[in-house]
Amino acid sequence: MKHADIQKLHDTGFITGEQRQKIIEHFQLKEDGGGKFLVIISFIGAVLIAAGIVLLIAAHWNEIPRGVKIASGLLLMLGFHAGGWWLREGGGDASSPASSATGASQPQGKYRKTGEALHLIGSCLFLANIALIGQIYNIVSRPPNAFLLWWIGIAALPWLLRSKAQHVLLLMAFGIWFGLEVNERTGWIYCGNDERQLLLYSLLGLIYLGAGWMLRRGAFADFAPPTEKLGLLAFLLFFFPLTLKDGFDWRSGDINNWIFPTLGLLAIILLAPGLKNLRSLTTQWRWTWFAALFGMMIFMATAWFGLWRTDFGGGPRYLYWGGSWTYLVATLALFVFCLLQIQVGLQKRSPFLVNLGVVFVALDIIVAYFSLFGSMARTGLMFLISGIFLIVFGVYLEKKRRKLMKQIKAQPAKGNQP
């Protein structure tokens, strides 16, 4: 049963709009490829328009008086929001009322996605206008401040417009601000000139993941999937450099050591209670998944505090740490974590979790191949043993699964016997 089939039934009059919506919600049917393609095209268009306007501003046209520039920037921003609202809320043709899986009312316009794209441009133009004013008045300020202001300015829009695109933009805006603030020497979370800052971004990913879990139950449950996906992607993306042999020879810089434990605690505070919202997993798998994430956090903490270093003799700061076992442990940790993630993905029927896990397992193997765990012979032998182990383990798991399935099938038959 496809979304399009239900739409056809509705169009021919066999079912009402309300029935159509109930069926779609019950079977969690998603819009078909054509609709998705339109959404993707609309959002790429929105990003291109916003980037184009930012570049036009950056080109700096002296001939245009500053009043005209400021007024144009403001009118464009407000105009895109007005157009977006009109299209989303039923300007022109309006389709039947819709509601989300949580029962919250959705915009009724026929061009909802296009309207959302226009709102997205409007939000990007707020940043462009901040930049424009900075350019016109030659304002010199801390770079993160502009992004913080942007983030504050658009913070209410995802909730007001009930827009996933705005929500993702908000998460990205916060990420950009965080990255800039970490590298700002006058900042209170300064960790610049130190590759360990990657661990902070990885932790931020876990915080997003936990926030996504928390969002699952509530009025904004539809914001949960993009939050979780972005969080997990960021977590793996920024963890991955730890596996590079020569890519993580950090300097012990003038950093604030308290940031990592604080962010870690925040991640746990969000992940632990959010765990109960993973209803598609059994209790055992929920805890396994949490333990995997927690284990990775513990490993990152050991890397943050330099537990795996080999030739750092103490002494003054700003010393180059030439040797570290971090990459070895990180390669193994990422491998095991990704296998667990794939298993969780299969349990949850989440192609995203499975595909992401497979991609990072592949990257991990490539990195291990080139960085070598010792000699070529030793690494080769380790690969062989690991490969054989995985295949045998797979056969064992499959046998166990079949046995369990057999037992499950046999149970009702036994129960029916007098």
Binding site: I57, A58, H60, N62, L74, I133, N138, V140, T186
Partner: protein, 182 residues
């Protein structure tokens, strides 16, 4: 209700933008205009485009002008006040400096800055100070002027200077670079 809230958010965004414009315009209109000698380098900002980094003669403040005296290990990002006075050809130079605000003579202008990285210049025994006047945004591809650069700065009572115009050999920057491109 939602529309009203959206209008409120957009009004707040617009108010901030217009408020910033108003503060800048007021400072430019009411502050005292001074001339400073400067030199440039030209990088690019991804959001705001090409700009010149201006290094002023007043950016390096000799330690002997500080009262009370300061050490070379003055903390980074410390607020520094300098008194500027017109000395040669109408250009302003530092005559007094301090980490606390002080009273000015009638012909002096107070400019506020912060100790920048690197703070201390051993060769000149001076502290490097940034005033928030170090960037001048220019049209794309025109960040390579040849000639003497002069900056026109407006200094309001708060001491936070605003860069109003940069001149190349006495001509406004945009005009000069337009001629150079032709």
């Amino acid at each position: 209700m939602k529309l009203k809230l959206l209008i409120l958010v957009l009004a707040l965004q617009s108010a901030w933008l217009l408020g910033t414009v108003a503060v800048q315009e007021r400072a430019l209109a009411t502050g005292r205009v001074i001339l400073l000698e400067t030199a440039r380098v030209d990088p690019r900002d991804l959001l705001r485009g090409d700009y010149l980094i201006l290094n002023y003669k007043i950016s390096d403040v000799p330690t002997n002008l500080f009262s009370p005296p300061v050490k070379k290990d003055l903390p980074y990002d410390t607020t520094i006040y300098v008194a500027l006075a017109s000395v040669t050809n109408g250009f302003y130079a530092v005559v007094k400096a301090g980490t606390n605000q002080f009273t000015l003579a009638a012909d002096e202008v107070l400019l506020k800055g912060r100790s920048a990285w690197p703070r201390w210049n051993a060769a000149t025994n001076s502290i490097h100070v940034e005033y928030g006047l170090e960037r001048f945004y220019v049209a794309e591809g025109t960040g390579n002027p040849t000639g003497k650069l002069t900056a026109q700065v407006v200094v309001p009572a708060s001491g936070r200077g605003r860069l109003k115009e940069v001149f190349v050999d006495g001509k406004p920057y945009a005009e000069m670079m337009k001629d150079a491109v032709r």
